[in-house]
Symmetry: none
Subunit: 414 residues, 2 copies
């Protein structure tokens, strides 16, 4: 038996429900998908619940599981967002979701006039640059990494830190700025709250007098003169899947979050600006990079975002088109795939158009490749796959099974 | 309703994958199996993952689960091997895998010249007999039970013992003999290490001057003058399934490991030298003993080893023949089975020819008997059963279901 490899193509949010506009079919049933149907008919099929039936998952959690983690390994929203914006985070870091905001004084009171600083969109990179690595008491340092629009990720790095602290975000415009307090009165959390309050005040001094804000005020715009924080989380040491299983991996994607999680797992993140996250994403380049990466790796993930987008927007016909584009990506990979390589198709969750959100519906799965127990299914869709030979698997079970196909699962007992 | 009973026929390693030499069928699909197909067509079918999809299991772990244990009850390799060679082990015993080896002196250094004492095959029974029950400090006693060729199982019995000790096995020929040390510096492990070092030295004195070794040296063979040890494990108290469920059981098999685990479970081990583990195993006698045992027991296991053998050897056509022989065993049992007795067919794991090892693929299962919900399947094979009415079960779930059919599972709630 030659050495086996795996390519996993992930169609973000592909699962859906029957839609009257599509003759009562799901977008996947309605779409013309000759390549996916070939895969279903020559391979083995099933349905998958990422965590458990009825539990909707986020793209981040879905990918944690698809990359080989258990649900318990999920590090929280802050670290995931930090990874999504490309931040270099380290074990022990405290990570907070934060906004550029507008602070005004009413007498002695500090009021957050606008939690989004007039929905500031530009030059937050420059503002953030002025706040990098400010030294605080006890050798703690603060970093601010701007994300889209008014959003940013705040990192506190140092000894004896704890995530058990309150939010400074007043949660509504016109609300009073809140000081950050320890929740559990531990030394670490009091230390952290003090450092964060100090950092936010120092940021305020710098931002208040920053040329960009002076300019904004002159133009009648709200200044981005304060950072409000929420959702504190600690980045724990997470074992790399690549190390745990001695598994060389890569991930081809356009999404920061997906690439960031791939990095946690120890898989090489590979991207290109032509991977747009929309229907115009360059699938030729994606297929080419996937097949190239497969030469050097045991497992290669390739991610396609567009079906999810149109699920969220309740646009069934666009979702059909996105799925047909994904089918073409599958066709291009199938054309040149090595005969010792499995091609699996999966999704991180369902995003039914009528829900406009991720749902608890399972997703269809299929595996095509050498010596598989071909089942009786010949169409890749939510309903056909529900009758497939893999049955109904949990996300972890599906990934264990894939790992076992390339001999990366240890035998229990002797 | 009359009192119901169960016979479970276990086809070791029967599950496989499509093989081009067999027209792209699995050995089970390819084989002529009228009796298994009758069972499938008149019964209810499914597939089973002993622990979980994608997790390969050993024959020992597979049978622990088939006999009714959870994965967590697995006592480790040492105790299983000890059971396999028929050792009487007791809760609290420390069990080590060991070899007869050849020790030489190079100056002061003790060197293990050969870890297998020239692959000694004969008269290890006699050597071991000279080492039985040697009294050590603190009332600890040592026992050596010879297994095949140079292999043996070493048992330390006494108070305050711990398995947290290092190996004396240097792992390579010509390596220095290692003293045994405590790993965790606990009183118990230091006590155990001291006793084991003492036992091994006493064994050495006895073996060095044993007539068999003097003879070996005269014949130019390496003497079996030392015992090296590895893989220390403690035998914990394991509750008998027979007691836990008030279930009278028996196990008809030729394999020491299977019989040993049956004994742990409290099922009567029944064997015969005509049960060879190969294709020539006496199935007439097996069927007869099974039906006899079924009169006296609630549950009877009958084990057939040959399919596993030919999976390991990558011999698809021989595996087909082994499966056809298993089918005949089923036919003989079916012929005289009581109408109130269920006949279930299962396996401990898949052993695909191309893998030459146990794999993470599920195994087909079927149950035939009174008042079952007959499904739409009429062939017993990996693919047909995957579409069966029992769906995809975990090993523990399948066994719970069987136990429930004979009213051995307590209601939860009232």
């Amino acid at each position: 038996m030659n050495k086996r490899k795996i390519i996993i193509a992930i169609a973000d949010g592909i699962g859906d429900r029957p839609i009257s506009q599509l003759e009562g079919k799901t977008p996947l049933e309605y779409a013309e998908t000759p390549n996916l149907d070939f895969l279903a008919s020559e391979g083995i099929n099933g349905i998958m619940d990422l965590i458990s039936p009825g539990i909707p998952v986020g793209t981040d959690m879905g990918h944690m599981i698809l990359f080989g983690y258990s649900k318990a390994a999920y590090p929280g929203r802050g670290p995931i967002e930090a990874l999504g914006v490309g931040a270099e985070i380290q074990p022990g870091d405290i990570i907070l979701r934060s906004n550029f905001a507008t602070l005004v004084y009413e007498g002695e009171e500090k009021i957050i006039k606008d939690r989004r600083a007039g929905r500031i969109r530009e030059r937050t990179q420059e503002l953030a640059l002025a706040l990098q690595g400010i030294e605080l008491n006890n050798g703690i340092r603060g970093f601010l990494i701007p994300a889209t629009e008014h959003r940013a990720v705040l990192i506190l790095r140092g000894e004896n830190l704890s995530a058990s602290i309150t939010d400074s975000d007043p949660k509504e415009n016109g609300g009073k700025l809140k000081k950050v307090y320890s929740i559990d009165n531990s030394m670490e959390s009091m230390n952290t709250a003090a450092a964060l309050n100090e950092y936010l005040e120092k940021c305020h001094e710098i931002l208040e007098n920053h040329p960009i804000n002076i300019e904004r005020k002159e133009m009648g715009l709200l200044p981005a003169n304060y950072i409000i924080t929420r959702g504190s989380g600690k980045m724990n040491e997470i074992e790399k899947i690549s190390q745990k299983l001695m598994l060389k991996g890569a991930c081809i994607a356009g999404e920061g979050t997906v690439l960031g999680i791939a990095k946690i797992a120890g898989f090489i993140p590979m991207s290109n600006e032509l991977f747009t996250g929309n229907i115009d994403s360059d699938i030729n380049l994606k297929a080419q990079m996937t097949l190239e990466a497969s030469k050097e790796n045991d497992i290669v993930y390739v991610h396609f975002k567009a079906p999810d987008l149109f699920g969220h927007d309740n646009k069934p016909l666009e979702k059909v088109k996105a799925i047909e584009k994904f089918d073409k990506l599958i066709g291009k990979i199938l054309k040149d795939i090595d005969s010792d390589t499995y091609l699996a198709v999966a999704a991180d969750h369902s995003t039914p158009c009528e829900v406009e959100e991720h749902s608890g519906d399972p997703v269809p799965i299929a595996i095509y490749g050498p010596s598989l127990r071909k089942d009786w299914i010949n169409k890749f869709d939510e309903i056909s796959c529900a009758h497939g030979g893999m049955g109904r698997l949990k996300g972890n079970e599906f990934i264990d099974y894939l790992h076992s196909l390339i001999n990366k699962v240890k035998k229990e007992g002797a």
